[in-house]
Structure formats: structure tokens, C-alpha cells
Symmetry: C2
Subunit: 298 residues, 2 copies
């Protein structure tokens, strides 16, 4: 499908792409770069890919470059690879925020480069190449945001690539992507971190109890709050504008519940709790979760 | 084990107890009451239990009475059954808040009644008798809070009962129960309702997107926010004091994140996100969740 694919950053996401590309034979050659020696050693022992010690080498003659490293590393990566890019290359990434990255790339004024961002809505709470698996993207969405200078053929090529990995693709502007994700992913993470912090910042007397009886709700938040801190720190900074806006709306909704509790307002509480029940049904109908009961799970 | 067990309220929890008691033959006779005709019809068609049309009949000659109905129904139930209680009966429940109920029972000044509250930390986001299953309590915790007048033999009997249903039991005061659960269960629910409300109260343009791309975090909250509204309204009112207190602590932690985002304070964000990561490990070690990656699930 591609002659050469280069993967920059081989943690959970990058190594999962690497596995899927190898398994499905989507490239004749694969090159990889990671700044961590333990990661490159892992790659050497487990994959037959070209491992490059410096960034400009990894992208040489590549038709598809995938940046799968934390957002804060992009600038340095882009500066290092810019002089070695093949004409008409597809440059993509896997980041969870797009607007700031798009600005950086705009300022670099690449020529003959198709910058088409990808965001696979897939992952686990684990990080590192050992945590990757080739079916990570199967039946998941991948949101594609294309720069206006990207050719429509190359956009199709990248969509096909994600389809081959098992994902459904959806085109979205950089701005819409960042707003929608601030609601569906970034706000839930901010909230999960706060709630887990509230539960653990407790008198020692109750510390063990909080862990033991976490199945009543807290447990689910701890999984989200165990995501990679470095990756999430970058997302919150890059998408700060949207996140602060939705956090304000969220605070209003939380205060509404708080006031209803204070006033022991049964009618209001019932109204709030009933309104959120039907969304669950819509998510199941959209194939984004199963209807299998989750709370009772072992 | 018991000669006669009576179950008042046969929704998800009550019907699951009924199934388990039948399956494990924990009583010679079982009687059941539910105020809903559709529930009692379901029971008639699926179980061989004595179904009573009025509350005072259901508890007659019973050795163990289990109230598994919403907290706001307890007072009426207790007033209806009080004159028909067998001497030395065990009176228990399955409610998620204890202090208020305990006050109601204290005011009734029962004689020769062993009031020993139960809280099985088990459930799903579904309600009604069709949603019940006999293994719901297997490997889950059940918190027991005993009135000072309850005999230690009867406490042991009730603990044995939950053990037979597959649960581990833990004794806790009514007050400690309500505080610990406000952290591990009630706060997570308040937050989940608020976050789902924030995500759905959106411009129509993004409504479908929010549903489609919910796998990045929101999905998990919608399951919690789909829990029974009536049951949760009662919990928030009964345990309002603790919930308001932990909501205040939570708001402080959320503001800390908000300020760090505003100031683009990488160091602070990294510190917060790292602190919550290790709780996940403790919960897995305590057997309260698996280490199977969850985010990538289908």
C-alpha cells in the first residue's frame, strides 16, 4: 500500500500501529524512531524494522510519516525532519488535540507536504510498547483533519490506511475536533483526575476503605485517571481554551445538583437524573459501548 | 438456614437475592412483596414464592426480612410491618445510605427486633426484576452496620447469609458507612450526572459527534449516569451532609486543575496526574477491578 512508512514514537499507540502494519503488510519498509533506549531495545528484540538513531534519517524516502509521541515533542520533531521529507509525503499524527499543532505546522510553511492529522479514538490506561496490540484500532473511530493544501487523493490514501487497521474514519475540521473531544474525552479526564484526588486525599482512617469499596463508581474513574500523565498534561495545555469553556459549563451543572441536594429538592434531582439516562441508550445504539451490565463485572 | 425469608421490593437487587436464595436453598419458605403489579406478575410467572398483597402479611413468621426498595419507601414499610414482626427477627435492607434510616428505626422503638443494615456493593445500570441474576453478589463486598441492640449471633447469621450469596462482609458503623460511600459511590454519581448533562446540553451541530466519539472517556460516565433515578434521588437526600462536604473538596481539586490549565503550568498538571495513577494499582491489587485494559474494549 505504501512503499515506506515511518513511525516516530513507539509507545502504546505507535507500537500498535507498527504491529498492525506488519501483520497486514501495509508497507514494504518500516522505519521507527523513539528517543528512549529501552523502547528501541524492545523494538529491536520484537520487530524487524529499521530503527534510526536520529530523526532526520527515519523519514528519508518515506511515503507516510506517523508522529505518535506526546504533543509537546512535535515542534522539535518537525524541525528535525523538515529538510529530509520526500516530495508529496503524507505527514500525520495520532494526537488528541489539533489546533496548536496545526499552527506550528502552518508556521513551518512546508512545501509539497500533505499534512493530514489523525486521531484514533483508541487506547488503554497502559503505556509503552509492551502494552500495544495490533487490534487496538479495530471497530474504533479515527478522526481525520486535513490541511487545506493536502490533496484529496492523499486524504483518501490515509483514510484507507486507517480502514485497513480496522477503523472507521470521519473528516472534521481542526477546530471542531478540538471542541468535540474537549467534551467527550478531555472533560471526563479532568473530572476523573479531580475525583480520584478527592477520594485519596483522605484521613488515613478511611484510605483502605476507599480502595476496598471502590466498585460503587470510583473504580471506573481510576482507570481513566491512570492514563499517561505526560500525554494528558500536553492535551490540557494545547486544548486549554475549549477545556476551560466546558469546565465552566460543567461547574454550572454540578452546582445545580448541589443546590438541589441542599434544598432536598426531590423533583429537581429526579429531573436531572432522568435526563442523563437516555444518552446511554444512544451510545449503545451507535455501537460505542455494549449493553452488557458493567457495574456487576468482576 | 432460615425457616422463612421475606423480601420487600423485588427490583434488580431484591430479585437477585430471591434468585440466589432459591438456587442455594437458603430458606424453607420465601415471601415477597412489591407495590408494582407488573413486578408481582413477573414474580408469579418466574418463581415459586408466596406473593403477598399487603405488607403486614409478607413479614408474618419471617426470620429474615430484607427491605430492597428505595430509601424513601422505608418509613411507610416499617410502619406497616411493625405490628406483625416475629420475636427476634433479623430486619435488614440493601440501601446505599444508612444514617437517616437508622434514625427512623430508632424512633420506632422496636422490641425484640435485630436491626442489622446491609449494603451489598453490587448492581448494574439496569433496574427491575428482569435485570436480576443470582450471581450478582459473588465476589462483591457487603457492608454490615448493626444497631447496638442487635445480638451478635444474629449479626453472624446475617454475615453467613451474605457469604452464602458469595459476598465478603465488613462491619462498619452507620456513620462511617455513609462517609466512605459518599466518596466511593455518591460523589462519582453526582459527577457522572453533571458531566453527561454538560455533554448533551450542546448545540445540535455536535450532538451526534458527542455520541459517536464517546469512547474517549464519556462512555464510562454514561453508564453510571444511567442508574435508577428514583434510587439515586433518595441517596442524595439521605446522605446530603456527607455528599455536600465531599463535593466541596472535589470542587477545590477541580479548581486546582483549572488554574493549572489557565496558567499552562506543566509541572503542576504532571504532579496531579501522576498522583492519581497509583490508586488504580491499589484497586487492582485489592481485587476490586481487573488489570485488563478497558478503554480499547468493544
Amino acid at each position: 500500500m505504501f512503499n515506506k512508512i515511518s513511525i516516530i514514537g513507539c509507545g502504546l499507540i505507535g507500537s500498535s500501529i507498527l504491529r498492525a502494519v506488519e501483520e497486514k503488510k501495509l508497507a514494504s519498509k518500516i522505519s521507527a524512531y523513539d528517543k528512549s533506549t529501552s523502547v528501541t531495545n524492545y523494538l529491536k528484540n520484537n520487530f524487524s524494522v529499521e530503527i534510526c538513531k536520529n530523526l532526520s534519517d527515519v523519514v528519508k524516502d518515506s511515503d507516510l510519516i506517523i508522529i505518535a509521541s506526546p504533543l509537546s515533542s512535535y515542534k522539535e520533531i518537525l524541525l528535525s525532519i523538515q529538510s529530509n521529507l520526500k516530495e508529496n509525503v503524507i505527514l500525520t499524527d495520532t494526537g488528541s488535540a489539533k489546533k496548536e499543532v496545526n499552527k506550528i505546522i502552518g508556521n513551518l510553511s512546508f512545501k509539497s507536504v500533505n499534512w493530514i492529522a489523525s486521531h484514533p479514538i483508541a487506547g488503554t490506561e497502559y503505556s509503552g510498547p509492551e502494552a500495544g496490540f495490533s487490534s487496538l484500532f479495530k471497530n474504533r473511530w479515527c478522526i481525520i483533519s486535513a490541511d487545506e493544501k493536502a490533496s484529496s487523493d492523499k486524504i483518501k490514501d490515509l483514510e484507507n490506511f486507517w480502514n485497513k487497521l480496522g477503523s472507521k474514519t470521519k473528516l472534521m475540521t481542526f477546530e471542531d475536533h478540538d471542541y468535540v473531544l474537549s467534551l467527550t474525552s478531555h472533560l471526563p479526564h479532568a473530572v476523573a483526575y479531580s475525583i480520584v484526588k478527592t477520594a485519596i486525599n483522605n484521613e488515613n482512617k478511611f484510605k483502605d476503605d476507599v480502595i476496598q469499596y471502590s466498585a460503587g463508581g470510583l473504580r471506573d474513574f481510576t482507570r481513566i485517571a491512570a492514563s499517561d500523565p505526560l500525554m494528558w498534561k500536553d492535551i490540557f495545555i494545547d486544548n486549554s481554551e475549549n477545556i476551560l469553556k466546558v469546565l465552566d459549563n460543567y461547574a454550572k451543572n454540578l452546582n445545580e445538583i448541589k443546590d438541589a441536594i441542599k434544598n432536598k429538592d426531590s423533583k429537581k434531582l429526579l429531573e436531572i437524573f432522568s435526563s442523563t439516562k437516555k444518552v446511554r441508550k444512544e451510545i449503545i445504539e451507535a455501537g460505542q459501548d455494549t449493553d452488557k451490565p458493567g457495574f456487576g463485572r468482576k
